[in-house]
Symmetry: C2
């Protein structure tokens, strides 16, 4: 038989379906990350590798996208892996867990510290290959109807908060609530819940929380730098030509950086608008922060005792975390502090 | 004539030459950024678009790479644009100027705030198209033979420091020195110069400064988040198929993120080694920081009075800088501060 000419082997036609865990309303930020990925992949393959992006619920419910990738009913998902912590808490480590690394730190761990490979050891057991492809930066702690100052104020507090953080907050008396995005506002308005966290200024603004729960707390210590992942069915990924595997990796890394820059740009303006609309910015008190840190560490100790994969992965992150937050105290922190003092002084 | 089949239009064979401004000794970091770009471009085009990377001086001297791209003697360069501030200070704005944005901030401006387009308006006048493709994070302030505490201590100080920062420091009495990398160590050892700045812990460690000038000052306020650029000859870039133009853009954005993660990973370990080797970490005093900030603002005012392109670009950065450092004071700064306090307390 005649060998195909070399040129015909490049850029074969491939069409994949990607299910996002996010709604189209977030197309400038977290949902938009999948659109960016799809655009990059198409452009660098001259339109030959198409990834069709579907919003949450269009073809797969938001929280079932990983299962659908495992099953191979879709080739790809765009999601935050902590959604699946209930299946195995190791899922959460690839995205964010309380008091973990910030965005630059988790990127250093993923891309330079072997994090991508280590997390893929776990994802491989689920029939998945995954790459970081977005980050929100440190999220906000959420919108509260009343001020909270002490751990006593957390007792019985009905707080709409994600899974792993909820598990930690339960130790402090919080009653975590699971509500879909659209149900949060009416629940806050009626007082069915006392507080709700979502993402950060730009995304939160769309849901109008400022009108019914004006105390806007920070930081979201359970999401110091959450990585958004693109997940691919492992068998389908491995069937791709090496070129297309590289296309996905490079496009994911570019989309990862792009999302963080989008949040940094958009949150900057949104925070000012929210304050003008009546948001009352409040830091979590040192008492609450310290109690939360201790509760998180107790949770980790319990999980590590019974889950070797979690332990191996978390210990890898922790080993870097310790030194990362030392190095960041020097040039980065002092530069930022000086600039923030100038900002406060009206000198910028 | 017969139309060529569509498939033959994808991935044509292209070979370009890229001259770096950096030496091979920095192949893990800033020189390595060009290798990363070349690798990404090759992989996503199935090996058909090759960028040959040459270290500083191999085919073009370090500080002449932009001129060589303008002339078209090479297609590409990998450099820091502030090297060319002497031709026009607008060059420096695309990379870093004193008291500008940190890495995340300048990325937000470049990728979301129209910075890439605005800077390319200027680069276009030089026959160049450029994209961000690396960042070092906040650099260190450099190695000093003696402690400096006041502005008076800067009088007559012979400091090896880059161009634009040198212009600002001259106002405070510093005598800026221009020395190639390999000449710095002997000059510091003999006392021909009093101090020298280079990059940050990992890159600086290779040059051994800790042995002859142990006071390691921070932050490098003249480089809060310097962008490393890939510059392309504009006519050659525009002759590329749209696919390859996209390949360069996407690969540059991925390489940009990759370099910052490399610095964050490598500096973390290097700082500890340097302290163990005798480095004495010292913050610049508030007096020196404030005087430097004022001197920088005087410099900007002078340049803006006579350079409309500089003014337009700097005003765009400054408008974002003011609000960026407000937003960053909330979730990001408080999260980092809490984590650093835990680090200091031995709790990480």
């Amino acid at each position: 038989t005649l060998a195909a000419p070399a040129i015909a082997q490049s850029n074969p036609k491939v069409t994949w379906r990607l299910a996002s865990s996010f709604p189209k309303s977030l197309s400038d930020t977290i949902f938009g990350g999948a659109l960016t990925l799809s655009k990059y992949v198409s452009e660098v393959t001259d339109g030959n590798f198409q990834i069709q992006v579907f919003a949450a619920g269009e073809i797969v419910p938001a929280l079932q996208v990983a299962d659908a990738v495992t099953a191979g009913t879709i080739e790809a998902a765009h999601t935050v892996c902590y959604y699946f912590w209930g299946k195995d808490p190791t899922w959460a480590l690839g995205s964010a867990v309380p008091f973990s690394l910030n965005a630059r730190g988790i990127n250093a761990w993923h891309y330079q510290g072997g994090g991508i490979d280590l997390f893929n050891e776990f994802l491989g057991t689920q029939g998945i290959v995954g790459f970081p492809s977005g980050n929100t930066g440190v999220q906000m702690g959420g919108w509260f109807r009343k001020e909270i100052n002490t751990v006593a104020d957390l007792q019985g507090l009905k707080f709409r908060v994600g899974g792993f953080a909820g598990k930690v907050l339960e130790r402090l008396g919080v009653v975590p609530q699971q509500l879909a995005g659209g149900d949060i506002y009416p629940a806050l308005e009626k007082g069915t819940i006392d507080a709700a966290e979502f993402v950060g200024p730009f995304d939160d603004e769309k849901l109008g929380f400022v009108k019914v729960a004006p105390f806007y707390y920070y930081p979201g210590w359970w999401e110091g730098g959450p990585t958004v992942h693109s997940l691919f069915n492992k068998a389908k990924f491995e069937e791709l030509p090496k070129q297309y595997q590289s296309v996905l990796k490079v496009a994911c890394q570019a989309a990862d950086a792009n999302m963080l820059s989008a949040y940094d740009w958009l949150n900057t303006a949104a925070l000012k608008r929210l304050v003008a609309a009546g948001a009352q910015l409040r830091p979590f008190s040192p008492e609450i922060m310290s109690a939360s840190f201790d509760a998180a560490n107790q949770t980790y100790a319990e999980i590590e005792a019974g889950n070797a994969t979690f332990k191996k992965t978390w210990e890898s992150i922790k080993a870097f975390r310790k030194d990362y937050y030392l190095n960041m105290q020097v040039a980065e922190y002092n530069y930022d502090t000086f600039m923030m003092v100038q900002q406060r002084g009206g000198k910028l």
